[in-house]
């Protein structure tokens, strides 16, 4: 008996040590110069915590087999995945984390929770874990473009309704537990409802709002782990889970601010219903430009700002873009990249793509850094971005995106917009930028257009 107490004391002391490593690790992960070490430190923290937990484990063989199999599957996915599929990969891993806490809660329910408080905790953990799991799977489907269900379709509406029912049922079950211990059947209903509800949580949310949803689901998986820690009376689960919950929350807030919308509006309203203004139909003429004419202007430009968007990711144009940037620099042009926080489908999506293409991160600038000196920019090269450069956000108070911080490329001397067609962006708002007198449209696939420019430079 004394021996087993010693093990638990040893474990708890080690958990404190591991918590400190996690805290230091996540702090270092927030700075470019220390990020790699920070990640390593948090991996060590994980290793230490898991290692000490393995002492005195029940039925170790089957569990070690589980760890081994998970390690193989996880490592294979992580090493094989292309950098362009990072958004969906993060969503998938996040979902598995949620699933693990969901299963923990399920198992703990079978342990017959001793107090009413504990059984409420079990249900909350089950709900957060379950919603994270299926919600992340839907996010995975949407990001990898395997799942294409329209926001307005009947299926979406049914699942959204189930989401609200599952939340109501969860609240009901928490309030009912002080009076009676929930039966197994009752629990199973909750279990199925939250899994379906998670689908309904993410299904109605559109592509351009994905950065917010992913950050939020990331936060959820942490909170779920922290709650599992409350059930199991485990400190390290609480500390590590809370850190993840907090970091996800911060990212969610950053993303929502970058869109000038409330989290509530993003999750439950969407752009479509916030639209109330009359459309300005006639905007004037667009001025198309050919690759060779664009080259002549670029060749004489002394400063160029490249503004990438989701279109660059779709066209896989990041390598050609880097090549063009380097050629411009060799030509004596000052090249910068203007990166909007919500450009793409996850927080920092553009930064990852450009890093993959070997673009140095110190020439990637945020909107507030590039906007004040925009008048001095000779050419702003907009590659597959739309809403984040839409001047309506600053000029047109009736616009649904009014107030959103944008990259003000319309103030540059010349703007090149690389675009497939005249379709509007995710927000469904017409972009007056295309009709400005200093704008030239370079229609076609972004990768082909950029490659065209690159070969003009090489000749």
């Amino acid at each position: 008996m004394i021996f087993s107490i010693d093990i638990s004391a040893l474990q708890n002391i080690t958990y404190i040590f591991s918590s400190i490593l996690f805290i230091t690790g996540i702090k270092m992960l927030g700075k470019e110069s220390t990020a790699v070490k920070g990640n390593l430190l948090s991996a060590i923290a994980m290793f230490v915590a898991v290692g000490v937990t393995c002492i005195g484990i029940i039925n170790p063989l089957i569990l070690f087999a589980g760890v081994l199999m998970g390690a193989i599957v996880g490592s294979l996915i992580a090493l094989k995945v292309k950098m362009t599929s990072i958004p969906e990969m993060v969503a998938l891993f996040n979902g598995f984390g949620g699933l693990a806490t969901f299963l923990i809660a399920w198992s703990e329910f079978n342990n017959q929770p001793e107090s009413i408080f504990q059984s409420s905790l079990v249900m909350i953990t089950l709900a957060i874990g379950g919603i994270t799991f299926t919600g992340s799977l839907v996010a995975y489907g949407k990001l990898s473009e395997r799942l294409k269900i329209a926001k307005t379709s009947i299926i979406t509406k049914i699942f959204t309704t189930i989401f609200y029912i599952s939340i109501s049922f969860l609240l009901y079950s928490i309030f009912i537990t002080p009076f009676l211990v929930p039966s197994f059947e009752f629990f199973i209903v909750l279990l199925v409802l939250v899994l379906l509800g998670g689908i309904g949580f993410v299904l109605p949310i559109g592509g351009g709002d994905m950065p917010v949803v992913i950050s939020l689901l990331n936060s959820f998986s942490g909170i779920a782990a922290a709650f599992a820690g409350l059930i199991l009376l485990n400190n390290v689960l609480i500390v590590a889970g809370s850190l993840v919950g907090a970091s996800g929350l911060i990212l969610t807030i950053i993303m929502a601010k970058a869109m000038n919308r409330s989290i509530n509006n993003i999750l439950f309203v969407g752009y479509a219903s916030s639209k109330s203004k009359s459309h300005i139909e006639e905007q004037g003429e667009v001025n198309p430009i050919s690759v060779s004419d664009a080259y002549l202007i670029l060749e004489n430009a002394s400063s160029v700002l490249i503004v990438p968007g989701y279109g660059m990711a779709v066209a896989q144009a990041q390598h050609s873009v880097r090549e063009l940037g380097e050629l411009l620099e060799e030509n004596g042009t000052d090249v910068k990249y203007g990166i909007h926080p919500v450009a793409g489908r996850m927080p920092g999506h553009m930064n990852v793509l450009l890093a993959e293409a070997n673009v140095s991160y110190d020439i990637l600038a945020e909107p507030e850094d590039v906007n004040p000196s925009m008048d001095a920019v000779d050419v702003a090269l907009v590659i597959g971005a739309n809403d984040v450069v839409n001047p309506s956000a600053t000029e047109e108070p009736g616009s649904p995106i009014y107030g959103m911080p944008i990259i003000e490329v319309h103030n540059a001397k010349t703007v090149f917009v690389l675009k497939r067609s005249m379709s509007s962006g995710f927000a469904g708002v017409q972009n007056p930028l295309f009709f400005k007198t200093n704008t030239r449209m370079l229609f076609g696939d972004a990768k082909e257009s950029i490659s065209g420019l690159v070969s003009e430079f090489k000749d």
């Binding site: 996540i26 990640n39 937990t53 996915i77 996040n94 820690g229 409350l230 920092g348 140095s360």
Partner: protein
Amino acid sequence: MEIYILLGFVLILSIYLGLELISKVPSTLHTPLMSGANAISGIALVGALVLSQDTELQTILAFLAVFFASINVFGGYLVTNRMLKMFKKK
């Protein structure tokens, strides 16, 4: 009940600490931070390892929880490391 108050205290402090630690993160690191945090949420593995296995169902649940949490842990850390290695300054 007292233990929950203590643990609740730990929970609140950790969330507060987390918010303070990462309130200013450059946008370059948004994705790695998210992915790295995601790997940390695989700490559920520790919880999964201590689950009781009194019934067959519980053994299956524990095995599955360990399996999925391990994917999260290993995949998350490796992918974050791969990503961070790409961020370079000239």
